[in-house]
């Protein structure tokens, strides 16, 4: 029987964010914005949703007097992504 896809991940921008974060150790907000072509506002909202789900860790700090947001995928996020891809494969099997 097919399992439901995680609704937190089954959204275009959130899936893009998690796919990027799974490929790196950590990334700045600007990196995610550039790669996803999302607006700062939308990106910020989706990152917060991922943070609330415990999939992403967000650290805010200052770099050269400018605020800097660093995002990192959590172990729960890695597991959720792994499960999502496995479930996706079930749907795609001929």
């Amino acid at each position: 029987m097919f399992k439901d896809l995680d609704p937190i991940l089954h959204s275009q921008l959130r899936l893009a964010i998690v796919s990027l974060l799974i490929s790196v150790k950590q990334a700045e907000f600007t990196f995610l914005k550039e790669k996803t072509n999302a607006t700062a506002g939308n990106l910020s909202v989706q990152i917060n949703k991922l943070k609330d789900a415990g999939y992403v860790e967000v650290n805010k700090q200052f770099k050269d007097n400018y605020p800097q947001t660093i995002c990192k995928i959590t172990p729960a996020g890695i597991k959720a992504f792994d499960d999502y891809v496995k479930n996706l494969q079930q749907y795609l099997k001929p």
């Binding site: 959204s11 899936l15 790196v24 150790k25």
Partner: protein
């Protein structure tokens, strides 16, 4: 979003992330040049019996200054840290610590050895078999550049294998080959081999990385 679209999005983002990291090769060019110049100049001085008036290996210490500037600039410009870069940073940091430890060993051990002998009331003398002149033997680490050749090979070969970058794999292997050769040659030739190691181990891979980086920059425009 359909399942196919999800999969396509995941693939595209992973590819985008992977394509964002290009080593500029600046550090490799810097260290390859410094060690190449020091090694070859050291050899030429010994072979043609002339002196440039200072220890040429000091340029390796001077190279630390631009390296600090390069590291600070890279950190400032970096908007994401890849797993590969994190691993490479760890390898090269451990290499830096080991290099420093070996430099300290080379600087301290001869003096400590001499003191130990003095405390035991022992003096080691050397005799010139042609003139018969006998003088106090100055302690030094024998063939120390051979030890450096082993050390040079470790980070390069590890990075080369870990990142499947052939020029560094070749550079690392060359270091070990030069080490074996240096075990059988007079010390003067060790300096030449260290210079060659610097060029093959770092300078050439660094230039290749720089070219790749510039090509990727042109492709991104």
């Amino acid at each position: 979003m359909s399942e196919q679209e999800s999969l396509a999005l995941i693939t595209s983002m992973i590819q985008k992330a992977k394509g964002s990291f290009h080593d500029r090769g600046t550090s490799a060019i810097l260290w390859g040049s410094a060690i190449g110049i020091a090694g070859i100049t050291g050899f030429l001085q010994a072979y043609f019996k002339f002196s440039i008036g200072f220890d040429i290996w000091l340029i390796v210490l001077v190279a630390i200054i631009p390296q600090i500037a390069i590291t600070i600039r890279e950190r400032k410009e970096r908007s994401a840290l890849s797993h590969e870069k994190q691993l490479r940073n760890a390898i090269w940091t451990v290499y830096g610590i080991s290099l420093l430890a070996l430099m300290i060993y080379s600087a301290l051990v001869p003096g400590v050895t001499e003191n130990t002998f003095q405390q035991k009331g022992v003096e080691i003398l050397q005799k010139n078999i042609t003139t018969g002149e006998i003088k106090l033997y100055q302690q030094f680490v024998l063939s120390q550049l051979s030890l450096y050749l082993i050390l040079f090979g470790i980070p390069t070969l590890t990075t080369g294998i870990g990142t499947a970058f052939k020029p560094m794999i070749i550079g690392g292997i060359v270091c070990y080959i030069l080490f074996v050769i240096s075990c059988f040659t007079p010390f003067m030739w060790d300096s030449l081999m260290a210079g060659i190691a610097g060029i093959i181990n770092w300078l050439i891979p660094g230039i290749i990385l720089r070219n790749r980086y510039q090509k990727s920059k042109i492709a991104d425009v």
